[in-house]
Each structure stands twice: as C-alpha cells, then as structure tokens.
Amino acid sequence: MAEPRFFEDIELGDEIAASQPDVTMENVKRFCHAAKHVFERFVDHDAARKEGFPGAIVPGIMSQGLLAAMIHQWAPGCTITSIDTVFRGSLIVDSKITMTGAVTDTDETKRCVELDLAIVAEDGRTGVIGTAMVEFPS
C-alpha cells in the first residue's frame, strides 16, 4: 500500500496520479465471475462485435470499482462514502485505459474531500466520468 495521506495534506486542485488498471480479458472474466455478471459482451470479443461493439467491453460497475481502488491507493485508510459514475462510452477489454482524479472541494469540519474522476479510453475518448466523496480518519 502507498504511504498514508492525511486530510491536512490535501489541497483543492490536487491531482491523483494517472494510472492504468488491468482490463485484460483474464481479469475482466475474474470480475464478472465475482459479480455473477457473465454476459458475452463482457467476456467474448467476437460476441461483442456481433452486438456492434469494437470488442468486448469493460462492465460499467467494474470501471466504478477500478476508480474506487484508485482512491484507496491515493489515500490509504480513507472511507468512500459515495461514488457516482456516468457511463459515456465503451471501454474495451484488452486495451490500455487511463484513470485520473482531482480534488474539487474540501470540508474541514467533516474531514472529507470531493473528487472528480475520469477514465479515458486508449483512443482518447472519455469512457467514464464521475465524482466521489471521501472521508479521512481523525
């Protein structure tokens, strides 16, 4: 795990370092197994193409989970109290996708911050945008 990050360390505009999560077919299948979410469009490139996608697509709920893990990596020990993601476009399995985040608000009383989140596809399209509220321990 990363070094601890304290609420006092956070400033408006701070960015979470961009990272590239594992969306290989093997890992997406693993997620789908855990989620009981085994639809062909997620785990079979050919089947997804027959549905009109460029290839198998990363489940939307997995993209939200990837962002949550990124937040925990950025601020170990924090608590995500809400996370809201909008699925704007397909993220393709076995491609290179990039996650980013930035602090858009801070609340000293509640020791919480608001984050803007995004995942960009390999071709530069924005696949997911979102926000999260994150509380820091006292």
Partner: protein, 150 residues
Amino acid sequence: MESGQGALNLAEVRENWVGIEFDWATFDMRTEEMVEWAQACGEEDPRFVDPAHPDFQAHPGYTTHCMSGRVLPDGFPQIGGGFGIDGGKSVQVHAPIRPGDTLHATTTIADVFDKTGRSGTMIFIVQRMEFRDDRGELVSTVDWKMIKKA
C-alpha cells in the same frame, strides 16, 4: 435543459410512479466473492482483500451487482424507445457490509426526467435499490440511471 412537451408528459409519470416500491430481494454476502471483486478492481487495501483483517468489508460499489428481479414496475407506461441503456450508477455507502450478512433490497422508481441536447431528447428513469442488513440498518443505496430515446 428539459423539453416542454416531454416534461408535461413525464410530470404525470412522476406523479404516479416515483416512490412506488416494486421489487424485493435478498442477497447473501460471501467472503470469496467480495475478495475476488476487490482484487479484480486492483484493490490493495487489506480492509477489502484480507478476510482476516478486523475491518474486512465489501468494496464500496459491491451492491451494484445485486440486480433486481424486475427493471420496471408492472404497468409502468411505455415511455421512450427500446429497453434503454445503462447511464451509470451512484452508490451511497452508509455502513460496512460484512461477510455473512444477508442484505434485504427494496427497489423503487426514484425519478423520471428528460433532457434535450444536440442529439435530441433523452428520458432518464432512475431506479433506486436500498439495501438493509438483518438488523434493518441501511447499508447501501444504489441509483441506476436508465436512458431511453424519447
């Protein structure tokens, strides 16, 4: 921005359907699936991947996979075209979910609205699932936005 005529039609739908409960289900929380979910998401925090951790719990969005048996209530009016696409999910984490918990979910229509942009008018139907543990404590709320073409 909201469209004039569409907003008028949807006002009646909202009046009749928002807040109506239409599905009830239970879900058992299992350690192996909670760990597998978190690991596949790249999680390294032991609270989510180590069952021996004293604060072991489900990943924040874990309840998003708990699908309701029905997408819409019986008798819900046919508005918009087709089945609709998944527009996203919003999760509120009220309390940790532990392995062995049985969650009791109720599903309601939380909102119906439309927006008009360059590509035309889209209708948003927000389905809300509230998850309570065996003690009746609210642990998670998931809002799912279904988007349909008007």
